[in-house]
């Protein structure tokens, strides 16, 4: 576990996704280092359509490895403004750079005050 990384510059959700403010009020969403490690090599990601809306805590994408298909639980309610097109040809970016190039979607959040957890709180959950 010590090798896994959880940057402090973003918000987390207990279902293993993070949300990072993009500067323009929108949030980039992705999965945590812990999640990518559990999934193993990602071979396909079924991303949502731009414009679709998701409530906090529901699945906005499906992430497939050879072993499992896992839902991506959105950490904040919002409308999809952009999806990471690079993942259609290189889904392994989710493994190699989960906090950077392996982002999933960018959303326009409904409510910035929605409850999320910090990196420290998230780490406590996964090590429990």
């Amino acid at each position: 576990m010590s090798a896994l990384n959880f940057p402090d510059d973003r918000r987390y959700h207990a279902e293993h996704l993070w949300a990072k403010e993009a500067g323009d009020g929108s949030f980039v969403i992705g999965i945590t280092d812990f999640a990518q490690d559990q999934l193993g090599e990602v071979i396909f990601i079924d991303l949502p359509e731009v414009g679709s809306h998701f409530d906090q805590g529901v699945s906005c994408a499906e992430i497939e490895s050879a072993k499992v298909v896992s839902p991506a639980i959105i950490p904040l309610s919002g409308t999809v403004a952009e999806v990471n097109e690079a993942l259609s040809d290189t889904p392994e970016l989710v493994n190699s750079d989960p906090y950077g190039a392996g982002w999933l979607v960018r959303i326009k959040a409904d409510d910035l005050s929605e409850a999320t957890i910090t990196a420290a709180e998230y780490q406590k959950i996964i090590s429990a």
Binding site: E41, I43, F44, E64, S65, A66, K67, V68, V69, S88, D89, P91, E92
Partner: protein, 272 residues
Amino acid sequence: MSITLYTAPDCLRCKIVKEFLAERGQEYTSFDFKEDKDIFNKYYRANRSSIYRNPEGVEFPIFDDGQVIKQGTGEILAYLLSGRVLEACVTRSELLHGWISGLNVSACPAGQEDNFVTLVRLLAQGGLTVELHSDGRRADLLKRVLDEGFVSRMVLDIVGPAALYPAIVGGELSAEDLKQSIALTRAHADGLIRVLASAYAGGDGMTRVSPAEAGEAAKMVLDACGDRMLPVFVEAQQAEGLEALENQALLPYRSKVRASLVKAEIRKPEAH
């Protein structure tokens, strides 16, 4: 036609297919999903909608000859033995961990008996533990397969009363076949007889064998074997578009079946 196999490391099911191809001198290309991950991942993304995943992930090996994509060792070998002719009697195995099912002796098309026997032999000799199914028809072929000694578990499914057999399985069940199939299943070390609350396509959509019809099926079994103490299990067959039958809903089935076969018990599908 060039054959490509996608395999997993230490995969017995993959090894059986490779050995069969090698024995027949058939050339093929093989990629391991881990070692050749770039090739596999690309293939997976392009063909994802045709690729089946079992509860533990992608089912390996994946066989692709440019015409069809097949998964499951039984289905791949059946295809290599006789094209698509065996598809009626060799379907997806619901069993994992060294077991293989999806083999229905009663649905074997006429003329394919040798291939069916060969298939069961190849699977067992390759190291898989074979579960064979019958619905009572083709007792002659059932005897042939069982005599080879490669079947570890034998399941005889009574899908309904004889009158419903054409609608449910597409063929007639003779009393003589049923009698012999029951005797063969009872003689097997791990033989099991089920009276199914079968789901099938009726006049207006999917329909299900009723408790009264299951009772008639049990009566037919009693007439064939003459033994009221014959142990049978009552089990529901799940199907899309039909409500699942829970244990409670199976009680009327058990009552009707017990009118002929007093030792009938309800069995959950997970109990396999």
